[in-house]
Symmetry: C2
Subunit: 240 residues, 2 copies
Amino acid sequence: MSSTPSGDFYGIGLGPGDPELLTLKALRILDETDVVFVPKAGIKEESMALDIVRPLINGKTIIEKVFPMIKDQDKLKEFWLDAATAIKEELDKGKNVAFLTIGDSLTFSTYVYLLRCLKDMVPEEKIHTIPGITSFNAAASLFNIPLAQQNERIAIIPVPDDVEGLRPTLEDFDTVVLMKVAKRLDKVVALLEEMGLAETSVFASHIGLENAYATSDITTLKGSGKGYMSIIIVKKPAKR
Amino acid sequence: MSSTPSGDFYGIGLGPGDPELLTLKALRILDETDVVFVPKAGIKEESMALDIVRPLINGKTIIEKVFPMIKDQDKLKEFWLDAATAIKEELDKGKNVAFLTIGDSLTFSTYVYLLRCLKDMVPEEKIHTIPGITSFNAAASLFNIPLAQQNERIAIIPVPDDVEGLRPTLEDFDTVVLMKVAKRLDKVVALLEEMGLAETSVFASHIGLENAYATSDITTLKGSGKGYMSIIIVKKPAKR
């Protein structure tokens, strides 16, 4: 163990993209942080997270870490382990370290893998997660539609390759948030139409970003290729 | 229709209680707002929402509206209609109006009823909802536990009077957030124990408030009466 007093680690949820959806806490902690770790999908790509907070972290040490979009979990784990090790080094120097994530840090974020690696290296009391606004909370607000009221039940589910797998949840729950729609958009829209749920569904993509797109007529989306970075909220009419 | 140019209405999610979990957007809009409507449960009660932002709204016109904790929906609707009418009056004077809600405005918030009344009186483009951090996102952060990763599925459900009704969802979903536990806490804990899920469940109540309480050993909660304003997150171990 290092004799240097350890700094604190903060995993910060930045919200869905609009810099105004940062919390005051995220802002304060970024301000108090020495080193900011930023995830990005490829060496040449811009980090979306960095874009959101760039004006807020002038003068900080920014360390970009590439986490490639690959399926091989063991390979990917090496990247997270490498990032965790680099973070640990900074903490051992007594630096406060932030790691940026889009949306909420713990909701479908790859931060979860980093966290798992870090927990093996850093005492838990030094690890702080700051929640962020999720894409689906932002989308519901955009449309002024309730996610749930009273005793309604919400399901938040990634769309499986076979969209038929959505049917039981769509039948059972009052509100269903479909994540990771991507290339399955046309099939999802067809299923919702067939189930009579297209009219009560809304679609939003790239929320909070320049190329944001939202529609409450999801039938217009077929063939649009707009499924990437999108969500669909299926909201059944309230029982009263 | 009034000839006065109408002000704008903002339904603001304040987050779970910690004033630092307000978004920058909520802060800015409160600052630009003339009139702040605040819900409270009874005439003599303090408004929790008002407590969170009191230092931020000095000099604003604050209008408290009582929404009693009653089951009679028709009776309750009168209260919401009355609030919507009062808000409309201020908008017609050209004032910007905020309505405060705890957590996220559209997730199990009674704001939903107000919204429904307002939509009949005010053009939709004048109605803006600002999302807030939910109690369950804050709770997950408190424990550094993932709500979901990869293809995991989340259910967010109010606990029914007969807790047996939770069983299918607890069996089927990777993560289950139990809302409105209240007086059913002991029965919920017993069910989770019986299903072998107690060890992977965490409990938090009054998150972000002075009397906040959190534990990752839910078996200690039996007989505690701590179910009010609480949530339980049941997180099954990741499949890998």
